[in-house]
Symmetry: C2
Subunit: 348 residues, 2 copies
Amino acid sequence: MSDGPHVTLEDVARSAEVSLATASRALNGTTRVRDDLRERVLAAAARLAYTPNAHAQALAGASRRTVGVVCHDISDPYFAGIIRGVMRVADRNGLVVMLAATFADPDKELACVSALRAQRASAIVLTGSAFEDRSWERAMAAELEPYRRGGGRVAVVTRHRSLRADTVAPDNRGGARAMAEAMHRLGHRRFAVVTGPGDLTTVADRVTGFREGLAGAGVELSERDFFAGSSDRDGGYAAANALIEAKHRATCVLTTSDVMALGAITALREAGRTVPDDVSVTGFDDIPLVRDLAPPLTTVALPLERLGEEAMQLALDGTTSARGRTRRLSAEVLLRDSTVKPRRRRRR
Amino acid sequence: MSDGPHVTLEDVARSAEVSLATASRALNGTTRVRDDLRERVLAAAARLAYTPNAHAQALAGASRRTVGVVCHDISDPYFAGIIRGVMRVADRNGLVVMLAATFADPDKELACVSALRAQRASAIVLTGSAFEDRSWERAMAAELEPYRRGGGRVAVVTRHRSLRADTVAPDNRGGARAMAEAMHRLGHRRFAVVTGPGDLTTVADRVTGFREGLAGAGVELSERDFFAGSSDRDGGYAAANALIEAKHRATCVLTTSDVMALGAITALREAGRTVPDDVSVTGFDDIPLVRDLAPPLTTVALPLERLGEEAMQLALDGTTSARGRTRRLSAEVLLRDSTVKPRRRRRR
DNA sequence: CTGTTAGCGCTTTCAA
DNA sequence: TTGAAAGCGCTAACAG
């Protein structure tokens, strides 16, 4: 956008032979304008292919029409679902959304918020979970505080301890607990957990839930039952391979996300182990495609789009007084065919 | 962003006891500033948690740091992949991306471009294919032309006839043709096509490719071999159900996208037909997860992220002179296990 | 109802 | 080097 003569409101006004103010009013419909004048302005604007300069509008004090969303990875169906919800609500309110992807890099997360702040986005939705790191939390709070003082709204999806922001909290821990219990009830006694990076609150909460559910049923998980990887398909694949390598005897593999489950299942299959006959596998999130798998994946369903919708909504009707509201959404265990009652171990 | 006293550069300047100009220069590093003064400015900025107002910067003529991307649906892995590529390049160049989703609504597509134009995005990447509609094309051209005159860059992914924009063109037609030929070579003679909306150029090109490939092998497709649906999983599911309903005797179902194939396979499975034993199914795009399906999906692979990267790159180093460059990317047939040589028809 | 005018916050000549 | 001042394009008082 270096060169080029932009058509400005002044051009329109001149062409329509009215004042700048009238042109502005005619275009925005803020105040009544004599019909013929308005017609002239509209015609001139169309003729000149005029588009208002959003920066000038923002600077001049018009209300901000931009909201920001920051996610880890847009290719992750979990985030895609949430963002879809955010966009739906934003769209309904005539807002434009700026999307930033951080690839789960804490520093980038901070940088994105700063950029959104610079854009004077009227609201920021943080969809990635927090990093369990004191100094990061402090830095994020330091970034958000002045933003909020300037009238900016902030909403987060999932737990951000000490962030004083409106929160949409899916019941990760409860969902995980319920899943663990369900698997125990099915008859499983030997478990392995394929997990994402432990410094993400979402992952930590889910793992805690698994632990609690199993412990309640009398099964203790040891460190050797955990196999961590990145929060994506390849992370699941790698973790499952580590599990196979370690000759872990689990009859049920709990994973902290559907995407990881996907990779894990492929790894198991490649190692000659059939799901669910040889080993049951559970996912988390209920991303759209897992019901199309063969076998369909047993998982903890989260209302992804709703998470996004609620977060955006919360940010939008935020009143300065009511900070730190939390909207809890429950998680539901969906038993499908990737899990079965464990059979007696086959001879090999 | 209604209320709230924003910290401005003037506050920083005052606090650092320098002039506005000096503060600006110190922060941007445009010109040399005496070291101690710069220190003071930086310190003041940090102390006040100053963030420059991007709108003011943009208005004052600083270079734009925003690019726009418009897609149909962020939850579609096809678009997610492309956008990921776009974001990678944008990020590498220190640009912020504004993402708009249109849900394949032609009007919204237009509206999004207009909004991006208002934001004075330095470049716009159109990832959805064009609509095969003269008046829409005209309207889009009318929106883009003044934008371009104002120095804006435009790049599109897939064919946009008559748009004079830099284009990244995956070989949809050639890929489809190759797939059709491959399936014929495998032994299939009776085909059905599960397709998205025919008014999308991408879909049209793929269908044309299927037709050509088959015709070249002596198989003509009739209208009764086509089953259309929306470009998503549910569209594929519905189309496949229509196919089943019609008792179509295809031994091979060609689809115009992996996502649709996903739904189609589930529909077939629910109808008691096994893939690939009873019927072979092919996809298109090679979205990340299809290799994790059981059976893995035979598909036409497109380098999704690269499409996005190239488009963004093209838009970025666009010189006003070299308009309408086209970068072709080839498509590759990936034979996996969802397709096999057709067996003699089983008795029922 | 319409026009005049004062900024919004920042960058950038132009002088000093 | 630094500072003063002129806008960038638009909206919103404030007068007419």
